[in-house]
């Protein structure tokens, strides 16, 4: 049982939880994730670690309400407990001083970008961050990202804040202005991290390929155990099958088969719909 010590609504349907998990907090590194389960008949849900506090013994999780499991999580309050929490899982981000880097976070993907930006900056990188959301009300962790980055750029799809358009559009403008080698289109950036919905990561990778910019993406595939036992999370990277849970979650974005990732993310769409509808009916009945 893992106690929620703080709950914060970051945006409509996006909630942040600080959870007491001293052993995980002690070991967690940027890029890693946990698997949670909120009730006895519940699913195992992977969530990226958004932050950790080794002194307080807490980790921070950010979840968007998309189905029954995340809805149940969102209903938990400060003082409540998460039934099961296991981690830290996956390989951590490779942090070192790369010089100038760009960190791109889209939607709820801003949460996992945050610790990476923080650690890159601490390692001496010049961290340029781009964060984006559909509209300004859905933009999360702006202040924290400001602090974690050397420069912060904001975009919204509807233009309600910052650049109007997708993060990939703003990134392309930025890279175009930063070309240092006309022949190869190489820019002053030495590395890019991009985390968000699969479609966003796919478009970022399309842009960075043009500028020959190494790009790390963190994949959010379906998982069960999260320890390499089942292979539900398998993806194709560089033509080879990899397990996101143990080989990832971060991979070279230029080698990821995003079509396969997106197709496999849809496997249980109908099931999830049934489950969520039933849950919402139940909620109505209770009210």
């Amino acid at each position: 049982m893992f106690k929620i010590v703080r709950k914060k609504e970051l945006a409509p349907d996006i909630t942040q939880f600080d959870v007491e998990a001293p052993l995980i907090a002690k070991k967690a590194l940027a890029g890693q994730f946990v698997v949670i389960r909120v009730h006895e008949d519940g699913e195992r849900v992977p969530l990226t670690i958004a932050s950790y506090d080794r002194d307080k013994g807490t980790i921070t999780l950010v979840a968007m309400r998309v189905g029954k499991s995340t809805a149940l999580l969102a209903e938990l309050n400060q003082g409540d407990v998460i039934l099961d929490l296991v981690g830290p899982l996956g390989e951590p981000s490779e942090i070192e001083n790369y010089g100038k880097v760009v960190c791109v976070g889209g939607g709820v993907g801003i949460a996992p970008v945050l610790p990476i930006a923080k650690e890159l900056k601490a390692a001496g990188c010049h961290v340029v961050s781009i964060i984006g959301a559909k509209t300004k009300d859905l933009l999360i962790l702006e202040e924290e990202m400001q602090e974690a980055s050397s420069e912060l750029h904001i975009c919204t799809d509807d233009g309600s804040k910052g650049y109007k358009g997708f993060v990939s559009g703003l990134l392309e403008d930025m890279l175009q202005k930063d070309i240092i080698d006309e022949k190869t289109s190489k820019t002053g950036f030495s590395k890019c991290w991009a985390i968000g919905p699969a479609i966003m990561m796919a478009s970022v990778v399309q842009v960075t390929k043009k500028y020959d910019l190494d790009t790390i993406v963190s994949l959010n595939s379906i998982m069960v155990d999260g320890t390499g036992m089942c292979g539900a999370c398998r993806v194709e990277v560089g033509g080879k099958t990899k397990f996101v849970c143990v080989d990832g979650p971060e991979f070279n974005g230029h080698e990821v088969n995003f079509d396969l990732l997106m197709s496999r993310q849809q496997i249980y769409c109908d099931h999830e719909g049934i489950c969520y509808d039933m849950y919402q009916e139940e909620c109505k009945c209770k009210k």
Partner: protein, 481 residues
């Protein structure tokens, strides 16, 4: 005169046929997840126990990897001393209700039974299950739990760690606790039991039975910690720093193999591990009552011929599949699954496609649509002693499918072993450990079960857990490595 009487008695005993196991009708059970074999009645058990010759030199005991005093526990049944009979089994076996169900007795104790030479051996496994179930039932009727030494057992000796709570880990933990060591049992999943809870289906091993056996172990003062992925949250080094004096690694065979054929990443293609974990551990067969989903499939192909393949095929049937094919590259005779499982599967309507090997999974809109297979013939025996399957050129054909389950074996999961650089592994990644003592290349670290042997049986893993516990005790007493 007395000797003559004795021999007459024996002759008479041989005439009683082996008592059949009551079972659910195949047509009915193929559509439910309730246990296939419903278990002996008291009458059945007494009759079957009476068949035992009580040999002076009982060979059955030598056939048992944990050397249960089979002769004695059966004798106690004939005397209607059921509780004492269970105690006799528990001297050597901490998981009798489980072993009575899933041990391959036909290759072990029952294979050695004298009655088996001319007729059928005593149904030792069924009797073992009977006494264990009877005791659970008796206590449950009294609204009580099965508790070791009335709950008065307290462990006070050195701290030891057992990593992985499958059959090997559970047995090792129980044996060490009985000796008074303070055991912490670490489990990566949210529930203890390892393959007993994520792998073996409800209809073969009910999960409340597993839970009762685990509760019994916990009553031995074993500290169970779930949600602990060792190597990630704690390393072996940290365990030793934290005061643990010995460690037993029993992390099992938890890495699914795929064939490496085109189309294996299509939607609807599962590893048996995933399929069974969803259905068993996560209870996806109860979806949407339980939240974890599973693709039910109308036409399901299971690739493989072992017990895991049988479990997957029979699970698919129970989830509602119209056709379930078992695709195996050799013939039925070479299937590694227990005969009983193959027979059960066939009775339930599983369609065997033997001497067939998949070459490709053909997709439609991202989903598995057809399994392309090539027919095989058998050639000369290979290293395993089984006849080598050879593809027949040009014999490919397609099987309509919407779900394909790969049950071609599991390897050792490197998550923990990769964090112990000094630990010697073999070329497949299994831990190199002494078969008798479980000792590894690292002082104080023991290993046993599938992580050492590769995927094998529950009872072999239990045997390894038992031997390792004895050897750990010796190490802790003498300090000698």
């Amino acid at each position: 005169m007395a000797a003559k009487d004795e021999s007459k008695k024996k002759v008479k005993k041989k005439k009683i046929p082996r008592t059949p196991m009551p079972q659910q009708d195949p047509k009915v059970r193929a559509r439910n997840f309730k246990e296939v074999a419903t278990g002996y009645t008291e009458e059945d058990a007494l009759l079957e126990a009476s068949r035992c010759l009580q040999c002076k030199n009982p060979k059955c005991i030598k056939g048992c990897p944990v050397e249960i005093d089979i002769k004695e526990f059966i004798k106690l049944i004939t005397e209607r001393k059921f509780e004492e009979s269970l105690e006799k089994i528990r001297e050597k076996n901490s998981l009798p209700a489980i072993c009575g169900r899933v041990c391959p007795q036909e290759d072990q104790c029952e294979k050695e039974c004298i009655l088996g030479i001319k007729g059928e051996p005593v149904a030792i496994g069924r009797l073992e299950r009977y006494v264990a179930d009877r005791e659970f039932q008796r206590l449950s009727d009294l609204d009580k739990e099965c508790v070791y030494l009335d709950g008065n057992h307290k462990c006070t000796r050195e701290k030891v760690a057992v990593i992985g709570s499958g059959p090997a880990g559970l047995t090792c933990a129980a044996e060490l606790a009985k000796k008074g060591y303070r055991v912490t049992l670490f489990e990566a999943l949210h529930k203890a039991g390892g393959v007993l809870v994520y792998g073996i289906p409800e209809f073969r091993l009910p999960k409340d039975i597993v839970q009762k056996e685990i509760d019994y172990l916990r009553s031995m003062d074993v500290d169970l910690k779930v949600n602990m992925v060792m190597g990630k949250i704690l390393t072996i080094e940290e365990l030793f720093k934290d005061g643990y004096k010995a460690v037993f690694i029993s992390t099992g065979a938890g890495l699914p193999y795929f064939m490496g054929i085109p189309g294996e990443n299509l939607n609807g293609v599962y590893s048996a591990n995933e399929y069974l974990t969803r259905s068993n551990l996560m209870k996806a067969y109860k979806f949407p009552e339980c939240d974890t989903p599973i693709m039910k499939g109308e036409n399901v192909a299971v690739v493989g011929g072992g017990n895991v393949a049988m479990d997957s095929a029979r699970t698919a049937l129970r989830l509602g599949a119209k056709n379930v094919y078992l695709v195996y590259r050799r013939s039925e005779a070479e299937m590694p699954a227990r005969n009983e499982e193959i027979e059960h599967a066939k009775e339930e309507g599983i369609i065997l496609k033997v001497l067939n090997n998949p070459v490709e999974i053909i997709g439609k809109d991202g989903w598995a649509d057809k399994l392309r297979v090539i027919k095989m013939k058998l050639g000369e025996p290979d290293d395993s002693g089984r006849r080598r399957p050879i593809p027949i050129e040009g014999s490919e054909y397609n099987i309509d499918v919407d779900v394909v389950i790969m049950a071609i074996g599991q390897g050792p999961n490197p998550l923990l072993t990769s964090t112990i650089p000094e630990l010697k592994l073999n070329k497949w990644g299994n831990i190199s450990a002494d078969q008798e003592t479980g000792r590894t290349s690292v002082k104080g670290v023991f290993a046993g079960g599938d992580i050492v042997t590769g995927a094998a049986t529950v009872i072999l893993a239990m045997g390894a857990g038992m031997k390792a516990a004895a050897s750990m005790d010796e190490f802790l007493r003498t300090g000698e490595w």
